[in-house]
């Protein structure tokens, strides 16, 4: 009887074990890509733009029969599972959880920006699912003990001002005012710039944070003017940049150099809100499509992408559409090269093509912590041309298209 029982247990374990192996090798019907977007709230505009870019990628790969998954040696259609977090981190937390534990998505993609990504990072780590971080560049997300995150577009925000700092130093601009929104994205830029300039002996005459929902900078501009700086650097989200540039123009104050972040990413939006005059001679970080990357080895170049995206959505793409599409490309390459269909294998595959993949967003290269270090943000200046504006890259010298007009007339 005891032998018979042992045989039954053995057979049971064998069948369960074997079927388990067989099931793990069975290709899924769909590759479930789970993400969040914000249809309302302060992040609605960039979030929906990014989501549209990801949707375009899904539409494009599915029109080719799906994405090639090396682990199963076949093309599998992609199914996008998406929920609306309404720009709320509380809602996003619940919905990320739902994507992981209820929908059992194969791929998890974060919502726009550092704020809405911040709640996904610990969840992804706990549930051991790789988070494809689109534009959450907060430097605190990337730690040596967390292999479950990869930043796909843009370098970590702490690296953004590297070229800006070099530009300021090279132009010998020696009195700087820095005002930044009190969130991780802007604060890490401000800290980097502050430290680099201090080290170079540049005098930081104004260095203050403001709440991220600041919508009136008039008094701050007046206080900055009292310190008589040669350059004013404002780190903020689009709402901050719009309010800052509008207040600057209506105040009648003049500075030799004014830098804001988002004109280089959301040029049309900023131009529509603040006008050509307010942007004239202003500086920014240019990103695609202002930067034109056509020599790529992954996905479409910028020219082709613009044509295809316009056909798909009827609109000219902005940077965030590109970022959304770009994360799709990284997912695609991951699945194409990962030998196994599990999260750590995905991470390993990414390490394999890191530094070799060049997309319309630039060089994709991540460090051990998953932070993006391949893309570099040059410094550009808008100069008036006819009724509009022309963007010149003024730094670094290897990318320079024109000399900076400094001081601004």
């Amino acid at each position: 009887m005891r032998k018979f029982s042992a045989l039954i247990v053995f057979l049971f374990l064998f069948v369960v074990g074997f079927s388990g192996i067989a099931m793990s090798k069975e290709a899924p019907k769909y590759i479930k890509v789970g993400t969040l977007y914000a249809s309302s709230g302060p992040f609605a505009k960039p979030s929906t733009a990014e989501f549209k870019g990801l949707n375009f990628w899904v539409h494009y790969v599915n029109s080719k029969g799906g994405v090639y998954v090396k682990a199963f040696h076949k093309r599998i259609p992609v199914k996008l599972v998406a929920y609306d977090d309404q720009s709320s981190t509380a809602t996003a937390t619940t919905l990320y959880n739902q994507l992981i534990t209820q929908d059992h998505v194969n791929i998890l993609v974060a919502d726009f920006g550092s704020v809405l990504t911040s709640v996904a990072v610990p969840l992804a780590k706990v549930h051991k699912i790789l988070l494809f971080d689109v534009t959450g560049t907060g430097s605190k997300f990337f730690t040596p003990d967390n292999p479950y995150i990869v930043l796909c577009s843009l370098p970590t925000s702490g690296r953004w001002p590297y070229t800006l700092a070099d530009f300021i130093i090279s132009e010998k601009i020696n009195r700087i005012a820095i005002v930044y929104s009190s969130n991780d994205f802007d604060q890490s830029q401000a800290v980097t710039l502050h430290n680099k300039l201090k080290k170079a002996g540049v005098d930081i005459v104004y260095y203050h944070a403001v709440p991220s929902n600041t919508s009136n900078y008039s008094i701050i501009l007046h206080n900055i003017k009292a310190k008589n700086p040669n350059a004013v650097i404002e780190f903020g989200y689009p709402n901050n940049d719009i309010a800052f540039l509008q207040n600057l123009e209506s105040s009648g104050l003049k500075f030799n150099m004014v830098f804001t972040v988002f004109p280089g990413q959301l040029f049309k939006l900023l131009k529509a809100n603040v006008g050509v005059k307010a942007l004239s001679y202003g500086y920014t970080y240019p990103t695609p499509p202002l930067l034109r990357y056509n020599k790529v080895n992954l996905g479409m170049g910028i020219d082709k992408f613009e044509k295809e995206f316009e056909k798909y959505s009827g609109k000219t793409p902005n940077f965030l559409n590109i970022a959304g599409y770009n994360v799709g490309l990284i997912i695609q390459k991951t699945l194409e090269t990962s030998k196994k269909f599990n999260q750590l294998a995905f991470r390993k595959a990414i390490a394999g093509f890191s530094g070799k993949a060049f997309t319309l967003d630039g060089l994709f290269k991540v460090n051990k912590e998953g932070a993006q270090i391949g893309e570099m943000l040059p410094v550009a200046q808008f100069v008036p041309r006819g009724q509009g504006l022309k963007m010149n890259i003024v730094y670094p010298p290897s990318m320079k298209t024109a000399k900076a007009v400094y001081p601004a007339p």
Partner: protein, 295 residues
């Protein structure tokens, strides 16, 4: 810097007095918190944007249009929602839920028609109109748009004061604010007067929207929630149910914000709410609290 913060704060505060005015007027008459208040400010901003880009209307021309449109809209809205609410068992709680729903619907409709983008009219529109971009007050230079907004706010406050204290309708409104049932017994057409007051409250909110571009930057569909919260803070500071106390609340809010931006900029958002807690602890009825039922 101190004088700039104080003078700037007064101008900023006048605007925020206008922002809170409509909410307090409606609360005073109906004892209901209009949670869609900020959304009517947003609608005023979108109307301004739309008329500017479609017909080239200056915001000063939009002011009377906006007042008429939203006065009528508010008047009709009162008859659709409020009488039924007042007959319910718990009108105050139900009004919260109802106006929250209205807020969500307004936001969704605007997103449907305008998308999620921030929108603005040029910040220099008054500079072009008056051919002067700044003005100087006690040695401090401010944008001309601040002066225009301040004057518009003062005119609005004077008109509301005249409405309350020099018109029959105003007497009736004050009577309802003091005691709705007694006003009814004394022969006042409570529903009609309340509907007009509701319309005036919505129109005041829309006026704040028209002027908003020049004080709080770009407008966007979800801006309403924050504005409702700020308005609530302001009317509690002044006195719930006393529209004129709102001006005091607005001024305190404006000056507090400007002083904080000058000296402790990263703590700017904290002070108004600290003030709110302080006022509630020390004088729960608000700074002009006695006037709650007497206007």
């Amino acid at each position: 810097m101190l004088s700039y913060a104080l003078i700037g704060g007064i101008m900023y505060g006048l605007y925020f007095g206008l922002v809170g005015m409509g909410l307090n007027l409606i609360f005073g008459v109906m004892r209901m918190i209009n949670l869609a208040h900020g959304d009517f400010i947003m609608l005023g901003a979108f109307l301004t944007y739309w008329l500017y880009y479609l017909f080239g209307f200056n915001p000063l021309i939009v002011i009377p249009i906006s007042i008429v449109v939203f006065l009528v809209f508010g008047f009709l809205m009162y008859y659709v929602f409020v009488p039924k609410l007042l007959h319910s068992k718990d009108p105050e709680m139900l009004s919260f839920i109802l106006f929250f729903g209205v807020s969500q619907v307004i936001e969704a409709i605007i997103i449907l028609f305008f998308g999620n983008n921030q929108i603005s009219v040029p910040s220099t529109i008054f500079a072009k109109l008056f051919n002067v971009s700044t003005f100087t007050l006690f040695g401090n230079t401010f944008p001309i748009s601040w002066l225009v907004v301040s004057v518009a706010c003062i005119v609005a406050f004077v008109l509301i004061y005249v409405y309350f204290f020099y018109t029959k309708l105003g007497y009736a409104t004050r009577a309802i604010m003091a005691n709705r049932h007694e006003a009814l017994v004394s022969g006042i057409d409570v529903n009609k007067v309340s509907a007009i007051a509701f319309g005036v409250g919505i129109a005041a909110a829309s006026l704040a929207g028209v002027m908003g571009f020049f004080m709080i930057g770009a407008a966007f569909p979800s801006m309403g929630t924050d504005l409702t919260t700020i308005s609530f803070t302001i009317i509690v500071l002044g006195a719930l149910g006393n529209p004129l106390g709102t001006v005091i609340g607005g001024l305190i809010y404006g000056v507090a914000i400007m002083l904080m931006q000058t000296y402790f900029s990263s703590w700017t958002n904290v002070l108004p709410y600290l003030l709110l807690i302080f006022v509630i602890l020390i004088k729960p009825e608000g700074l002009l609290g006695k006037a709650v039922r007497n206007v």
